[in-house]
C-alpha cells in the first residue's frame, strides 16, 4: 500500500430528463413569478461590442428528428477574444457581454435561437490563435452526460484551416459537422447525435 492521494471522484452525471425546463427555463414553461427572467435568455445590449449574429441550432436524434425538449448552452469570447470569467487572466472582457447563454429548443420545431456577437480569436495553449468558435453544451432526456461540442463559422475558412482543435480530428470528413453555415446574419447549425453525419463531440 502507498499513501492515499486523497482525491474525491466527480459526482456522476445523470440525465436532465424531460422536465429540464422547470429548473433552467421556468418562465419558458409557464412557471412565472419565481425568477424575474430565465437565466441566459439575453446576451447582448446596445453597448455590447461586436458584429450581431444569430445562431439557429437544432439537435437531431438518430432518425433525424429534432429534439423538442433539449436545452442548449453556449459559452464564447467577446469580440476581442476575451472571456468574461475570473479565470481570464489576459485582460478585461467587454462588461456588456457575459459570454454565456441558454435557450430551450422550440417545443414544435426543435429550433433554438441565440442572439449574440461573433467572438474574436482566442489563443490555444501554445499561443497560436484558435479560429473563432463557440462552445456548446447540450442536455436532454436520453443524454446521460451533457454533450460538449464547438460551433465554428463557415466564413472563417482561413482561420478554420489553422485551428489546432479542428486539426486534431483524425477523420477529416467529420470536420464540417462543426461548421455553421452563414445565411446573411444567421449561422445555421444542426447537431446530429448519431448516424453518418454525427457531430464531433469532445472530451476536454
Amino acid at each position: 500500500m502507498a499513501q492515499s492521494l486523497d482525491r474525491l471522484k466527480e459526482s456522476p452525471s445523470q440525465t436532465a430528463g424531460p422536465y429540464v425546463h422547470i429548473g433552467l427555463t421556468p418562465n419558458f414553461c409557464g412557471i412565472g413569478g419565481v425568477y424575474a427572467s430565465d437565466l441566459g435568455s439575453s446576451m447582448i445590449n446596445d453597448q455590447t461590442k461586436g458584429e450581431r449574429i444569430e445562431l439557429r441550432i437544432r439537435v437531431l436524434d438518430g432518425t433525424g428528428t429534432p429534439l423538442r425538449e433539449a436545452l442548449v448552452e453556449i459559452w464564447q469570447a467577446d469580440a476581442n477574444g476575451f472571456y468574461n470569467s475570473p479565470a481570464e487572466m489576459r485582460g478585461a472582457a467587454d462588461p456588456n457581454f457575459p459570454g454565456w447563454g441558454r435557450q430551450p429548443t422550440d417545443t414544435e420545431t426543435g429550433v433554438c435561437l441565440f442572439q449574440t456577437i461573433k467572438p474574436g480569436r482566442v489563443p490555444f495553449r501554445d499561443g497560436r490563435l484558435m479560429a473563432p468558435h463557440i462552445t456548446l453544451w447540450i442536455a436532454a432526456r436520453g443524454i446521460n452526460v451533457g454533450l460538449h461540442t464547438r460551433l465554428y463559422f463557415s466564413d472563417e475558412e482561413k482561420a478554420n484551416a489553422e485551428d489546432p482543435i479542428l486539426a486534431r480530428i483524425e477523420h477529416r470528413l467529420r470536420v464540417p459537422t462543426l461548421i455553421a453555415e452563414r445565411q446573411r446574419d444567421t449561422y445555421v447549425f444542426d447537431i446530429h447525435l448519431q448516424g453518418e453525419k454525427e457531430t464531433v463531440f469532445f472530451d476536454s
Binding site: 466527480e10 452525471s13 445523470q14 433552467l24 412557471i31 419565481v34 489563443p123 446521460n144 463531440f201
Partner: protein
C-alpha cells in the same frame, strides 16, 4: 477579469480528466431514450484550452429571497407547499476536496405526489397549487449551500412496462470553468426504488451510485418543522500550474 465574489486568487489550470467509466455511458439500452440520442463515435479528446477552463460567474446579487425555498417560492401569500418538509444542504467540493465558492446550483423536482408542473407531464397525481418545483442557490466561501423544499414523490414513467423513478431532485451545477458543467440527480437514503431504476442503473459502479444518495442528517433538522438531508456535490478539480510546460521563449 470579472468579479468572483471571493478573496481567493482565481485558479486557471486545466481540469482533471473526466473518468468516463465512473459516469454512465452515453448508451444505456435499459433507459430507452438513450438509444437514439447517444453518440456512437469516439469523443475527440484534448487538454482544456481557455474556452473550457474559463466559465461564467453568477453573483449572489441575482438571487431573490425565496429562490432557495421551494416550499414558499411559488406559494400564495401565507400558504406553503404540501409534503414532507426537508432541508437539503451540503457543500460543493472539487476533486482535491476544496470547497468551491460561487457555484450556481439550480434544482427542479416533482411535487409530493410525484407530479411535475409541466404541460408534457401526464401522470394522474394532482398538481399542488402552491408548488412550482424550481429553486436555486449559490455556494458560500466554503462551498456550502442550503435549500428548503418538500420531499418529491416517486413517479411512474414510460420506459419499461412498469418503471418507477425513485424520489429525486435534479441538480444543475456551474463550477468556475465551463468544463465542470454538470447535471445530476440527488436520491434519498433508504429508497428501495434506487436500485430498480434504469437511469440510476446506467452507472455501473456501486460507489458512484452511492455518491448520489443524500444521507438523512438528524443534526441539521429543524425540530417540529423539517427533516434534513446532506448532499455534497463534487466537481472536476484543477491541475496545479506550478510546473506547467511553457513554449520556449515565454
Amino acid at each position: 477579469m470579472a468579479e468572483t465574489g471571493s478573496n481567493r486568487a482565481p485558479e486557471t489550470g486545466a481540469f482533471f480528466q473526466r473518468d468516463r467509466q465512473w459516469h454512465p455511458p452515453a448508451l444505456t439500452p435499459s433507459y430507452k431514450s438513450s438509444v437514439l440520442r447517444s453518440p456512437q463515435k469516439a469523443l475527440v479528446s484534448f487538454d482544456n484550452t481557455l474556452s473550457e477552463s474559463t466559465g461564467p460567474v453568477f453573483g449572489h446579487a441575482m438571487l431573490g429571497e425565496l429562490d432557495n425555498d421551494l416550499i414558499h417560492n411559488f406559494a400564495r401569500p401565507g400558504e406553503s407547499a404540501i409534503g414532507e418538509r426537508i432541508i437539503v444542504h451540503g457543500r460543493v467540493l472539487d476533486e482535491r476536496g476544496n470547497g468551491v465558492p460561487g457555484v450556481l446550483l439550480e434544482l427542479w423536482q416533482a411535487n409530493a405526489g410525484g407530479r411535475y408542473r409541466h404541460k408534457r407531464e401526464g401522470y394522474l397525481a394532482p398538481l399542488d397549487p402552491n408548488f412550482g418545483g424550481c429553486g436555486r442557490a449559490i455556494t458560500g466561501e466554503d462551498g456550502g449551500y442550503a435549500l428548503r423544499t418538500i420531499r418529491p414523490g416517486p413517479y411512474p414513467w414510460p420506459n419499461g412496462p412498469n418503471d418507477w423513478r425513485p424520489a429525486h431532485i435534479h441538480f444543475s451545477v456551474f463550477g468556475h470553468g465551463f468544463a465542470q458543467r454538470l447535471i445530476t440527480q440527488m436520491y434519498f437514503e433508504g429508497d428501495p426504488l434506487i436500485w430498480r431504476c434504469p437511469i440510476v442503473g446506467g452507472i455501473s459502479n456501486k460507489a458512484a451510485i452511492e455518491a448520489l444518495i443524500a444521507a438523512l442528517d438528524m443534526q441539521s433538522t429543524i425540530p417540529m418543522d423539517a427533516l434534513a438531508y446532506k448532499f455534497d456535490i463534487v466537481l472536476r478539480g484543477r491541475r496545479s500550474t506550478l510546473f506547467e510546460n511553457r513554449p520556449e521563449g515565454n
